[in-house]
Amino acid sequence: MVTYIVRRLITAALILLGASFLVYLLTAASGDPLEEFRASSAPNKQQLMDARTELLQLDTPAPIRYFHWLGGAAQCLIPFANSCDLGKNIAGQPITDALGHALVQTLTLVTGATVLAILIGITLGIITALRQYSTLDYGVTFMAFLFFSLPIFWVAVLLKEYGAIGFNNFLRNPEIPIPAALAIGAVIGVLTAVTVGGEMKRRLLIGGVAFLFAAAVLMYFSATEWFKTPGLGPVVIAIAGVGIAFAVTLLSAGLKNRKALQSALIAVGVGLVVYFVIQPLLNEATILMIVLLAVAAVLVGLGIGFLMGGYDRGQSMRAAALTSFLVGFLILLDRYMQAWPTYFNNSRVRGRPIATIGASTPNIEGDFWIMSLDSFTHLILPTMALILISLAGYTRFTRASMLEIMNMDYIRTARAKGLSERTVVMRHAFRNALIPIATIVAFDIGGLIGGAVITETVFSVRGMGFLFLDGISHVDPNPVMGVFVCVAITAMGFNLIADLAYSALDPRVRVKA
């Protein structure tokens, strides 16, 4: 095992050396960094050219410059020396600073999108695998192929037009005409009817209820101008919380486990009490506090489950912890909605909240809620675009993996010994289907920080992709090298992790020592 890892690391280092040498030479050969001065007629033209030549050491040949760069970069390997030197960019700014800034931007952009895409994709994949050859399966398959085929820049422009400009116009006067409400309700009703499965009568019934409910809610929103002053309130949180409690228990323990259901419901009750107690505290919120509160919510849930016990204490604890976490999320959502009118009427936002470019509104001021709402409204469009693009892969992959597992003999055995369908799917099939998915997730996380060059360009986010593209267009090797080294190291590291994780999860696969 150790020899395997060491051998992989050495190969990776050699590959990195070779590739970085090539990348440096290619970037240096891709153009003339002095071109913008050659055409200019500025009086100090020669001076400017000399200054840049000195800054980028243009009078030494590129291969020698590479080894100079390598010498600086090698210092990054010395721990705690803080002498990392990745050179300077064409404007004279140290690359390490620029990289740090770009990394934060890129990670805020892609992390949420990737996590959501993985969650939604896996869920859809499993549902379609369980309902193979149903209308839902065909629909999702078609959607997956469609999303595979969408150019992201095209989607992004469409989202900007309809998601931002259109929605902002709608918010100015948030009235939903009754035909529109009925139409949206009908769409939701049909989707629900297709999703639930079962007999036609059951589908129609559930679809009809969903249609009525959605249309009524939309009309209520329109009448009360809910979109201007959104909020959940304790009543909605209570109803949604009970729904969550049932759903979580159904998936994690089964409704037959009464103790688990009771712990989940108690967690909802505690959440409702906390909702009133915590409001003054939330006014002073910081990011650290929210994280601590989330941890506290999970711990309280675990505690409730532990005290309730039952024949399977672990299941009660899991159900209660998940429920209390989700109820906590609802409370957080409610607090964000309370801050919405203030944000909406902020002098910088001026009633057009959904932003099309950048990562934050310039010069905006406000408390924690305003600032994070500002990030959300900027993140929502790129996140949607990225989810659309990467969703398809996860869905298809999970579906294939799940289908293969569902045909295994041990699934047949599990059914034959009389286990409930929930146990078969959640405990026997789902866990094993996740093994191959774990590896592609690791690959994708490795590729995350490379950023989405095109998404960043379209939405003007100054992340890693922007840094890279900017470096290329200015024939500036140092930022290109900085981005490349970061991306390559994480990608190769996560490749290794993916291989190791696979052999750890699947005992049939063993790494060669």
């Binding site: 190969t11 050699l14 590959i15 990195l16 070779g18 590739a19 090539l22 990348v23 290619l26 970037t27 050969a29 891709s30 153009g31 369980l130 309902r131 193979q132 050859y133 149903s134 192929f145 469609l146 595979f148 085929s149 969408l150 150019p151 992201i152 820049f153 095209w154 422009v157 037009e161 499965g197 079962g198 007999e199 289908l403 293969e404 569902m406 045909n407 047949r412 059914r415 034959a416 369908e421 799917v425 490379g450 060059v453 095109i454 360009t457 890279f468 593209l469 290329i472 267009s473 290109v480 490349f484 991306v487 390559a488 990608a491 190769m492």
Partner: protein, 355 residues
């Protein structure tokens, strides 16, 4: 699962394969039975023929009256004249851009470019991928070590950087190198060749895996004992068994290649201005979305259509080549079998089951 024995008769038709058809016939039959793939094939054929005959190719004139760079007077501010109801085609079916160029001609030209790039990439990537994968998978040892390290290096070099370098080199027409002259006259071909030279890595890894497992099989041993040469074993014994995986993945590489080409053109390092491509059209016209949305809709629609049809063809091929797949007609099965209980027996319908 109990009614397993009764169900396959409903949807699966094993008769066809019991007659002793050759592998090729089975694959063809399965492919033709895949309605998604057939629709994809028809759509792609229509786009292919229209794109290449309408505006002409390589100097051969086409039947459409405008060319992609011809400026004509603006008619009705360039609004598309095509309409579904009443069905009409008109003078400028897709509309005109700001200076009066015909969008139909431009889109067709762009579709030509995308299809050319796609085919060139499929050809080159397939060829190099097979050679590298076969050599490293079959001979192993040093050959494998060197070739696979080479693929590792190429796989982590970003395609965007290489495209930018090539675009820069092609841009220097005055420098008079053979590459610059070639690239300036056949921009799209150069881009395709170059993208093909970097996209083979995935295929090579895949083919290596196939070769690694196939070379350990008994029929290869038998061939070797009866004195077959390495070349004969590779071409006659192993490659035909790996051809399914190869074809399917070349199709998928090609559909990804279209998106890569459009993305590179969008970023300004692919196809350059006097010529046009679907990605370039979108990038040139995205600012005009509010005033001339059609300039944006039609090129995007064609990217999606081409890519979607290729993906469906690939899916059909994958099903056709999958030896575990039985010909399956879901609708028939549904009519026959009484509605089974929820989820449980649905998996018994699974086409990938070998029984």
């Amino acid at each position: 699962m109990a009614e397993d024995a009764g169900l396959p008769a409903a949807g699966v038709e094993p008769i066809l394969e019991a007659k002793g058809l050759s592998q090729g016939q089975i694959v063809r039959k399965r492919f033709l039975g895949h309605s998604g793939a057939i629709i994809g094939l028809v759509v792609f054929a229509i786009i292919f023929v229209t794109a290449f005959t309408s505006v002409g190719y390589w100097g051969i004139p086409g039947w459409w009256k405008y060319s992609h760079d011809q400026v004509t007077p603006l008619v009705n501010d360039g609004v598309p004249t095509a309409s579904l109801w009443p069905l009409a085609w008109g003078d400028h079916p897709f509309g005109q851009d700001r200076i009066g160029r015909d969008l139909f001609a431009m889109t067709m030209r762009g579709a030509q470019q995308s299809i050319t790039v796609m085919l060139v990439i499929g050809l080159i990537a397939g060829l190099i991928g097979v050679v590298v994968g076969a050599l490293s998978g079959y001979f192993r040892g040093w050959t494998e070590a060197i070739l696979m390290r080479l693929t590792d290096v190429i796989i982590i070099i970003p395609a965007l950087l290489l495209a930018a370098v090539m675009a820069q080199m092609a841009g220097r027409r005055d420098s008079g190198s053979w590459f610059a002259t070639f690239a300036s006259s056949n921009g799209i071909l150069a881009l395709g060749i170059f993208l093909g030279l970097i996209t083979w890595v995935g295929l090579a890894r895949l083919m290596r895996g196939e070769f690694l497992s196939l070379r350990e099989r008994e029929f290869v041993d038998a061939a070797r004992i009866s004195g077959a040469s390495n070349a004969r074993i590779i071409f006659k014994h192993i490659l035909p068994n790996a051809i399914g995986v190869l074809i399917v993945n070349i199709t998928l590489t090609m559909s990804a290649a279209i998106l890569t080409e459009t993305a590179l053109s969008y970023l300004g390092v692919g196809v350059k201005a006097p010529d046009t491509s679907l990605g370039l059209l979108i990038s040139q016209n995205q600012e005009a979305f509010a005033t001339r949305p059609w300039l944006f809709w039609f090129p995007g629609l064609f990217i999606v259509l081409i890519c979607l049809s290729i993906n469906f063809i690939g899916d059909g091929l994958r099903d056709a080549f999958d030896p575990r797949q039985k010909k399956f007609n879901a609708k028939k099965a549904k009519d026959h079998g009484k509605h089974p209980l929820e989820a449980t027996p649905v998996t018994a319908f699974d086409g990938t089951k070998d029984d």
